[in-house]
Amino acid sequence: SQQGEEDPQALSIQEGENATMNCSYKTSINNLQWYRQNSGRGLVHLILIRSNEREKHSGRLRVTLDTSKKSSSLLITASRAADTASYFCATEGWGKLQFGAGTQVVVTP
């Protein structure tokens, strides 16, 4: 069964715009991770946020975590065509990652 649920399922934006996607989960976690998957590079780890953290930045990425609401968001600022991919949140508990179904992001030039 899937732990994380991403929203929206699909997102289409133009280059330069920001993209925001959300993830909700059900059980307690040690950390929450975001991954990107595209056909060219497989599944790539983007960022990890621990359960005692509320916000984290990495380059153009900003992740928030609200453990009281069991939700997380991923913001990609100033999007580029190369950001076109599927984005997955994954919750970590007892070593296992449980993935959501992903958000498909298309960035058009």
Binding site: G4, L48, K96
Partner: protein
């Protein structure tokens, strides 16, 4: 350095045959994970190995699925008597230690006819 590698990259087999998938983790990574991804879906956890501890097999969908790992190196995932619903991409990942970010291999695309 070398990333996680998997072989074969593609496997087509007939229903009822056994298949063996291989994963070479990043050297020094103590944790190794197997996932399955069906078309258009997220990853489904299958099994993980952490050092010399007993593996967590809680995600294996049936007793037709099994996996082994030799020390902290190569792992093989075996599917016996394959069924059409086993068709998916099987992904392997490794991690320096338990609970950290995971580094994924390119996957093995399995097609059961």
């Amino acid at each position: 350095g070398a990333g996680v590698s998997q072989s074969p990259s593609n496997k087509v087999t007939e229903k009822g045959k056994d298949v063996e998938l291989r994963c070479d983790p990043i050297s020094g990574h103590t944790a190794l994970y197997w996932y399955r991804q069906r078309l258009g879906q997220g990853l489904e956890f299958l099994i993980y190995f952490q050092g010399n501890s007993a593996p967590d097999k809680s995600g294996l969908p049936s007793d037709r699925f099994s996996a082994e790992r030799t020390g902290e190196s190569v792992s093989t995932l075996t599917i016996q008597r394959t069924q059409q619903e086993d068709s998916a991409v099987y992904l392997c990942a490794s991690s320096p230690y338990f609970g950290n970010e995971q580094f994924f291999g390119p996957g093995t695309r399995l097609t059961v006819l």
